[in-house]
Each structure stands twice: as C-alpha cells, then as structure tokens.
Symmetry: C2
Subunit: 112 residues, 2 copies
C-alpha cells in the first residue's frame, strides 16, 4: 500500500487488525503473537519482524499505548486505546460488508 498510509486513510491491514484485537486485553509483544496464532488456529501468524514493526507504528498512531508500569519481568506491555477500539469496530464492519457484497452477488447468481 503505497502512496497513501492506510492508517491515515482510516483502514487497518490484517496484521494491524489482529494486533488491535489481541490488545483489547493488555499484554506484551510476544504474547500478541501467540494469542493471534491461537485465536486463528494457526491460519494467521505474525513473525517478530512484522510484530515489532507494526507495534511501533500503532503506538505512533495512538491506536495502542505502552503501559506505564511494565510487568515483573520488565516486558513492555501494550493495550488498545479508545481510538484503537473505535477504528477496530469500524474495520470489523467494513469486513462484514465485504462478505455481504459477495453473498449478495453469489445469491443473485443462484450459487451458495
């Protein structure tokens, strides 16, 4: 995605979508990876490069934030912000509509 920043456009890539979803409950980076794998039955996975790169970007965009008090082992803990939740819900709805658009056409053609 080029030429236009998807976050500035108010859209989430699949990677950002799952990170925001996973961080509705505060946790540190590595747990985000594991949570997403578990949540999607390993159909979607994010490697460390994508994870930490995207986390940095989401913090900058204030869609997630780093918590003040790190946990016992000094791991950085993140949580989705109010803005993040709002955008996530919007993006759930956008995907819902993408499915609906397809269902309507398949239905009209007598398929599915």
């Amino acid at each position: 995605m080029p030429r236009t920043d998807s976050l500035e456009m108010g859209e989430l890539t699949d990677t950002s979508y799952y990170i925001l979803l996973s961080l509705l409950d505060a946790k540190h980076g590595y747990l985000v990876m594991k949570t997403i794998e578990q949540m999607t039955n390993n159909t979607f996975s994010i490697g460390p490069a994508s994870l930490y790169t995207t986390i940095k970007k989401l913090v900058k965009a204030k869609l997630i934030e780093e918590l003040e008090q790190p946990d016992i082992q000094n791991k950085k803990t993140y949580v989705t912000t109010k803005n993040g939740i709002q955008l996530l819900k919007k993006e759930v709805q956008r995907r819902r509509e993408m499915v609906r658009h397809a269902e309507e056409i398949f239905k009209a053609k007598g398929e599915i």
Copy 2:
C-alpha cells in the same frame, strides 16, 4: 505484501477481491471500476492505475481470463475463471472468520 506474493499464498487483497467479484459476470475494465463503486456505495473505489495493473496480474495468475471475442466496440472483456471463483469463495470465508474472531472477543468482554 512484501517478500511473498499474496496470490501465491492463496490470498486476495481487497482490490483483487472486488475485481474477481465484479467479474463473476463478464465485463470490460472500465465497467469493473464503475460496478465496484456502485456495489460499495463509493466506499471502495479503484483508480485506473490499480485496475489495469491488477487485471494484468490476475490474468497471469489465471484467476480471470480475457474472452476471445471482444465486444462490438473492441473493448477487452474479462471474466473470473473457475480457479478465481474457488479462491474468491475461500477469501469470503476468511473475511467471515476475521469478523467472527472479533465478535467472539467483543462478546466475551460484554461489548457490542
């Protein structure tokens, strides 16, 4: 979208998703743009650069094909192939599951 070709990974970007969906009924390029705008109430639109670039790639991947007999005005007409339909249905299901994953978590948190 980097390092790995999404089509080779068996995934569709939103742009390819809507083009395949629009070409379930054969039509030429320009009509694909107009159909997608209408289908999505102008919430999603593809400009000429994205359109013709993506069409070329989808033809190469045999997810759409150019029809032998062009229409009266010599416009190139395309249609989604059997492989294209199969992948499109898989991608509808993937998006359906992305929505479900979010719904489950929001529900567990008492939201929505």
